[in-house]
Amino acid sequence: MSVQITASEGGIPHDTLMAVGLIGSIVCLYLTYLNGATGTDVFSFFGGLAAVFALIWGTDTIKHLCSYGIGTGVPSAGMIAFGTGVIAMLLATQFDGMYLAPIMAVVIGAIVGFVAGFLANNVMNMNIPVMIRSLTEMAIIGAIVIMGLTAVMAGGFGFDALSVTMVQILGPLEATSYASSLLGGCLIAVAFMLGGIALQHPFNACLGPGEQQDRTLMLAAECGFLSMIVVAAISFAFVSMFAAVISLIVAIAGWYYTYAKYIELSRRDAYAWLNAKPILEPKGEA
């Protein structure tokens, strides 16, 4: 899809959004550790909220990067963010025992993203001024989103939580199973695709001369909650019924609110809002 990219000016500055997204998502990821502290898994839904924070920040990053006229690059930007992010996320799960996984996801994501951006700009000679910074941000975002969605599914993001599940055999007997765990079922692929499309969609869907920042960011939140609905449905296989239902309710409520708001904002920005009316020819000279 090669369409002209036009980004709006003004609105909340990118640095502010980055600060809010980074701090908000890390705080939410740390809140999922309440699961371990309280011995339940009802706090898994904070992972989904972390993903929403990160996606709002990421949408603005993509807008900055793509305002340099990378025609078909908007969907690809989502993919590279998650391709680099998944490496950082999986490495960071090794630091879960020290409660460092969210911080390490940011650090490793920054390193991987910087390398990808450096290669794109200096080796492939793309020479886009914001490329290195944007790819660094997007790798961090990818790592945080996958980590957040994983936390919703599995109730945590330690390597054990991802790779081992207890399966009941013959009633009271339990056995460990690797095949039916989150990694064994390759559900990271679901988190990858959910995040990758959710990250690129808001700007890709709203681009044009009438793009408005508040509407685009509202769509980013909507995509985040929509992704959360799916992972909440998957979480029925891994966490307790109660925790899964809470995640699902939070996701559906958040999705409904943001979707309704987004339609309202679209109605505000649209030239006209017509139902079963014929084609209106423009009043101008055309």
């Binding site: 078909t72 079922g185 890709n204």
Partner: protein, 299 residues
């Protein structure tokens, strides 16, 4: 012998499912104006052509279908782990995937159209209601059949990949088959070129999409009728053949030479197709050739 017979049967069934999936996928994306016609639909209001065509740009078709099928496969897998009947799990998971698809489709149409307010392109709510539901129905057929096919590979043929991974691989393949095979059959003449057949796409005609149908104003639903004739079946045959040949060579030749048999068969199939492609290309060039100067032009 029995396992080979079962394998061949499963292969045929998977190929049939894939054929249906390909046809539904291409019809869905053409009704929604996803894929390459999308840029002309987006451009049209800027050139002064206000239209009633759906403009759904979630992303390219391969990543978008990668997402829908992966959701279907992942959720179905999770439901089956909890002990749900596989058929029910696949149906519910596909329905959830289509809910996500519908949400993405409506936000894409509203977002892009609202951003074109400067060019006086209105949002048509009746389009949003009628076209979205039709694309969702087609997408359900495509996702359900593809996830069922992945489940067959896993459960009946013992493919080592977990369901979600098969979903991402075959979802992207499905989107690619529909995008590469189906779109050339329809978009150029039917949707975004209000020009005579074979006129090419002159730059001056950019954005001059077909806005009026034989009877009244055209909406994207008409694309379904047109795609159903050629583009959909072609995509179906393409994706069905990909799945069938891929499984067939594995089922029949895997036992030969310690697994190398299947690889050799795969290389042979590629060679056969390269020869056919070359023959068709040469035949088409000879018969339709480059444009020649009209004789009257020199007079």
């Amino acid at each position: 012998m029995e396992s080979i017979l079962l394998g061949v049967g499963v292969t045929a069934l998977a190929g049939a499912l894939a054929t249906v999936a390909g046809a539904a996928e291409d019809t869905e994306s053409n009704i929604g104006s996803q894929g390459d016609p999308n840029s002309q639909v987006q451009l049209a209001p800027q050139m002064g052509y206000i239209h009633r065509i759906y403009n759904k740009a979630v992303s390219g078709e391969p990543p978008a279908y990668g997402l829908w099928v992966t959701i279907g496969a992942g959720v179905a897998w999770a439901f089956m782990v909890t002990g749900m009947n596989p058929v029910l799990a696949i149906v519910i998971a596909s329905a959830l995937a289509i809910f996500v698809q519908g949400a993405y489709a409506t936000t894409a149409y509203l977002g892009r159209t609202a951003s074109l307010n400067k060019f006086e392109q209105p949002v048509y709510i009746d389009l949003l209601k009628s076209v979205t539901t039709v694309t969702m129905a087609h997408a359900f057929v495509a996702v359900f059949t593809t996830v069922s096919m992945c489940y067959l590979l896993n459960a009946a043929l013992g493919h080592p990949f977990p369901l979600a991974l098969l979903g991402i691989v075959w979802g992207i393949a499905l989107g690619a088959a529909g995008s590469a095979t189906g779109n050339p059959f329809y978009g150029k003449e039917r949707q975004y070129q209000s020009q005579k057949f074979g006129a090419g796409v002159p730059i001056s005609a950019s954005g001059n999409i077909v806005r009026y149908a034989e009877a009244g104003q055209r909406s994207s639903l008409d694309n379904g009728w047109f795609t159903g004739k050629l583009g959909g079946p072609a995509s179906g045959v393409c994706f069905g053949l990909i799945v069938f040949l891929e499984l067939w060579r594995t089922v029949l030749f895997e036992e030969i030479a310690g697994g190398w048999g299947a690889i050799i068969a795969g290389v042979l199939i590629i060679l056969v197709f390269m020869i056919i492609d070359r023959y068709v290309e040469v035949w088409a060039r000879k018969n339709y050739g480059p444009y020649v100067k009209a004789e009257e032009a020199t007079a």
